[in-house]
């Protein structure tokens, strides 16, 4: 497990960017945190790290957005799903077991279908200001190595 404390949205995004550089084909990044915690800001960072040049917006209404980068980025926001069954109706497997990277906002809602090996990231707004606590928990060797790759990183600053 790895923890970062960031002081502003830009810094949160930069942690995402560091992670984005390390992701590989089939990577699954689950994001958990309240409304406004910074999941989309973090995802924007991941997109930059993956070399995506498009402007990343929250797919709350489209549920999945797809971006072209070093690898395809499949950005899910499952906030509007009522039931894990809807993930099957979406055909999520094409993305989870596909050629790109999956970033999943509100991952808790569909926990049942998330593969055992993944990166689980919780973003907490503990102080009620712009600072955030980012907890990164890897499961599986690939993700352990990813987290090791981030351990020596210094906080990017605001």
């Amino acid at each position: 497990m790895l923890k970062f404390n960031t002081e502003c949205a830009e810094e949160t995004s930069k942690i995402g960017e560091q992670l984005g550089r390390l992701l590989s084909k089939g990577s699954i990044v689950c994001l958990s945190g309240d409304l406004g915690a910074g999941k989309t800001a973090f995802t924007k960072g991941i997109a930059i790290g993956l070399g995506v040049t498009d402007y990343v917006t929250s797919p709350t209404y489209t549920i999945i957005n797809e971006y072209e980068g070093r690898l395809p980025l499949y950005h899910f926001d499952v906030y509007r799903l009522n039931d894990v069954e809807e993930m099957h109706e979406l055909g999520y497997e094409e993305y989870f077991f596909g050629d790109g990277v999956v970033v999943l906002e509100w991952a808790d809602i569909v926990k049942e279908v998330i593969p055992g090996e993944r990166l689980w990231i919780t973003i907490l707004n503990t102080k009620g200001d712009n600072s955030r606590e980012i907890i990164i928990e890897p499961t599986g060797e690939v993700y352990d190595n990813m987290v090791k790759g981030m351990e020596s990183n210094e906080n990017p600053g605001c």
Partner: protein, 378 residues
């Protein structure tokens, strides 16, 4: 008769215009799955280059699955949009049939395989007989290993095609003594094959409108599969010793329940009646029955014990009744349902029943209307 056909079920996006069996134009683009950005451009190109206007198209054909969910939806939304705009019919062409059409009159068996993720494929087995395609087996979603074991038992050569070949060629080669695959020109879906089947569907009159057109995803969701594993459901013919539990459910479910004697006489004296029970861990959880009169099946009653509702038992039961009706050579099946019973009506619609009419005030207890629903079984 001009047909525009689209197939976006795999990594290849393909569209074609055919006129009276003559291929006017075809486009295949196999570069990535970003079909949504490209397919409209492809169709536009087909029209421009061939000098045909969209309004001249008489029939729209769409590869209707199985295949990539996202891919299928892209094709379907375009075809439905155009068919609605120009008020023309739609042919829902089974993707695997269309693939088999790539190998006209091929000897031996034809086995299209499409990637269904997690080492599984969508597949069916076909054979060509004097120029007609015959589907021998519907394999639905099958792990590649199981498919190989299954094919091994066949005594005739099998030719594979579809995007599954690209993924599993090594496994197929290793697992099978004789291995043949379609070559690059016929390996992936071609919209012209889709158009040829659409023409036949037109001749048979089996077309849809933009609103009745449905995709076939086939795959049972993982959640459903896991749920089914968890509960031990058995479907059996109803026997006399089930009647006590059946009556209990009947009394809990209906305001005017059938008597024990009614069930007894149905089972012992009515040769037209077929009754099925669904047992969970040995206990009757649901039951249903019908009368098969000549080639028509009439569902008489269906009920699920309140403790077991919401577990898809009703659906399983109706599916079992449909199968029994088919096995008894019924050509169509009907039922009546309370107009207010939304859950049941939704289930019947899902299983292919269509509203056919109303019987006003059919239910004596409340004076409520009954909706009559029918489904064709052939």
């Amino acid at each position: 008769m001009k047909i525009l056909a689209v197939d976006t079920s795999t990594s290849a996006a393909t569209a074609s215009i055919m006129e009276d069996g003559r291929l006017i134009s075809e486009y295949i683009l196999n570069i990535s799955r970003a079909h949504s950005q490209r397919i409209m451009g492809i169709i536009d190109d087909l029209f421009n280059k061939s000098g045909i206007r969209p309004s001249e198209i008489d029939l729209y054909a769409c590869s209707a699955g199985p295949g990539s969910f996202t891919g299928l939806r892209i094709g379907a939304s375009i075809i439905k949009g155009m068919a609605q705009t120009f008020e023309k019919p739609v042919a829902a062409v089974p993707t695997l049939d269309a693939l088999a059409y790539n190998l006209y009159n091929c000897t031996g068996l034809v086995c299209p395989i499409l990637d269904a993720q997690r080492n599984m494929v969508y597949s069916s087995l076909y054979t060509w007989e004097k120029g007609s395609l015959i589907k021998l087996e519907d394999l639905e979603v099958i792990p590649v290993e199981d498919l190989i074991k299954h094919i091994k038992k066949k005594s005739v050569p099998v030719t594979f095609l579809g995007d599954g070949v690209l993924l599993f060629e090594e496994d197929l080669k290793k697992g099978l003594e004789e291995y043949y695959a379609a070559q690059a020109d016929s390996l992936l879906p071609r919209a012209s094959s889709c158009a040829r089947i659409a023409m036949e569907m037109y001749e048979k009159g089996s077309l849809d409108t933009y609103s009745s057109f449905r995709l076939t995803y086939i795959r049972k969701s993982q959640a459903e599969v896991e749920y089914e594993k968890k509960q031990n459901v058995e479907l059996q013919n109803m026997s006399m010793k089930d009647i006590e539990q059946v009556c209990e459910i009947e009394n809990l479910s209906f305001r005017v329940p059938w008597s024990r004697e009614s069930f007894e006489s149905e089972l012992s004296q009515n040769s037209l009646a077929r009754y099925t029970v669904a047992k969970v861990d040995g206990k009757v959880a649901a039951y249903g029955g019908m009368w098969i009169v000549l080639d028509e099946a009439h569902i008489t009653n269906i009920a699920v014990h309140p403790d077991y509702r919401g577990r898809k038992l009703g659906e399983k039961l109706v599916q079992a009744l449909l199968q029994t009706a088919k096995d008894s050579k019924a050509a169509r099946i009907t039922l009546e349902v309370r107009a207010s019973n939304d859950i049941a009506r939704k289930l019947y619609r899902k299983l292919g029943f269509v509203d056919y009419g109303l019987r006003k005030g059919y239910y004596a207890d409340t004076g409520e209307d009954a909706v009559i629903m029918w489904k064709e079984l052939t």
